[in-house]
């Protein structure tokens, strides 16, 4: 019973993590493509590649900053006694 329950819970957790990761990829890819690939050529130039990598790193950082800001705000609105959902990346 316990192991089946754990398996179900882990499966649900994995779903949440997967959706989160997919959303992160979609959002960052769209924005970084918009910014870095202005005139699409027949292949990605090295400049474009470097821009995309840097942009992605930056987007992950921005995501972390926003997560912390949101968590901090939720904490101060609800008070420290309330149980809150913790934002996680992966």
């Amino acid at each position: 019973m316990e192991s089946r329950k754990q398996a179900v819970m882990q499966h649900i957790r994995n779903e949440t993590a997967l959706t989160n990761a997919q959303e992160l990829m979609n959002a960052s890819t769209e924005r970084c493509f918009k910014s870095c690939v202005v005139n699409p050529g027949t292949s990605l130039s090295s400049t474009e590649q470097a821009c995309l990598s840097g942009c992605f790193d930056k987007y992950l950082e921005a995501f972390t900053v926003v997560s912390r800001a949101y968590a901090g705000r939720v904490r101060s609105e609800l008070g420290p006694s309330q149980e809150e959902a913790k934002p996680t990346v992966f």
Binding site: M1, R4, K5, V8, M9, I12, R13, T16, T19, N20, E23, L24, A27, R31, C32, S35, C36, A50, C51, S53, G54, C55, D57, K58, Y59, E61, A62, F63, V65, V66, S67, R68, A69, Y70, R73, V74, A85, K86, P87
Partner: protein, 88 residues
């Protein structure tokens, strides 16, 4: 061995609570993605630098706070309008 998920009431209860928590977590994740996109568009000028500048980081933090403030204010405004209509 049966394939169906046969669980006792206590376990079902526990799972229900867990699913409720997980659903709340997903809503939080969704909000964070929404804010990141919104605030990235407002705050990030130089995409190529690869690291977040301190000004950009504080802009992102402010952006989240102000969005939530704006949301709260609009809810209050709607409430006020409803009350006005009620007393008309």
């Amino acid at each position: 061995m049966s394939d169906s998920l046969q669980l006792d009431a206590a376990t079902q209860n526990e799972l229900q609570k867990f699913v409720a928590q997980e659903t709340a977590q997903r809503k939080v994740n969704e909000s964070i993605h929404q804010f990141t996109g919104l605030c990235w568009d407002k705050c990030i000028t130089n995409v190529t630098s690869g690291r977040l500048a301190p000004t950009e980081a504080s802009c992102l933090t402010n952006c989240v706070g102000r969005f939530l403030d704006a949301s709260l204010q609009l809810v209050r405004d709607v409430e006020n309008k409803r009350n006005q209509i009620g007393h008309a």
